[in-house]
């Protein structure tokens, strides 16, 4: 199960598990994001390489206009995945 929606302050709230079966939902939502954005992962339990691909694709698109995604409230599992992927160097990331 995975959900993605805007929060009250404009942040993007991700919840559940961003795996290979859920990437279409994330990709459709993030494709509509313009300019800088904050992804709140407080309720995101899990991410795999399929989810990383969507984040990278979005970050590259936003970087063309000088913007980018900030990711906050990252749990230990997702932090490890980012670290092993080198994503900590291409995203601004804040741990929980």
């Amino acid at each position: 199960m995975f959900t993605i929606e805007f929060g009250e302050n404009g942040e993007i709230l991700c919840c559940g598990r961003l795996d290979a079966a859920q990437t279409a939902k994330a990709e459709e939502f993030l494709a509509a994001v313009v300019g800088a954005g904050t992804l709140d992962f407080a309720r995101l339990e899990y991410i795999s390489s399929a989810g990383l691909g969507i984040l990278l694709k979005t970050q590259k698109r936003l970087a063309e206009s000088g913007a980018g995604l900030k990711i906050i409230n990252v749990n230990n599992h997702i932090h490890d995945v980012f670290r092993y992927s080198g994503f900590h160097a291409i995203f601004e990331i804040e741990a929980q």
Binding site: D19, A21, S49, A50, D80, V81, G86
Partner: protein, 133 residues
């Protein structure tokens, strides 16, 4: 515990639930659960995507004891593909040189403790373990 799963990405939910049922009897912590979920997903998705028209189900054998998880995944009637070969992924590339994809096996190799591959009689078997600490 063994179980066969259909060759579709939609089986992932059932695979996670199957693993969690095994974990419940083995005192498995989150620091082990999530890497095992990731390895199961990445390896299963590879099997599905490399042979989408293969009619054979994929066999999973998962056990847990004292916080340690052992997994064997067997794919039938396939060509060899050694998942233990280093992927040589450059994770230091800047954003503009990055392309989506290619991280799955790299992550598996970094996040499980022992990764083994066997090929015999057109059967690929991948084994790995994960324990805390």
């Amino acid at each position: 515990m063994q179980k066969k799963f259909a060759r579709t990405i939609d089986a992932l939910g059932d695979i996670y639930r199957f693993a969690e049922d095994v974990f419940a009897s083995g005192d498995v912590q989150d620091s082990v659960r999530m890497p095992v979920h990731l390895a199961l997903e990445e390896l299963y998705v590879n099997m599905v995507e490399y042979y989408p028209d293969n009619d054979n189900d994929i066999l999973l054998d998962v056990s847990a004891s004292d916080g340690r998880v052992t997994v064997a995944m067997t794919d039938f009637d396939v060509d060899p593909f050694d998942v233990t070969v280093p992927r040589n992924v450059d994770t230091d590339l800047p954003l503009e040189e990055r392309v989506p994809g290619g991280l799955g096996l790299h992550l598996v190799q970094r996040m499980v403790d022992n990764l083994e591959y066997e090929y015999r009689d057109r059967q690929s078997t991948i084994k790995f373990t994960k324990e805390s600490g």
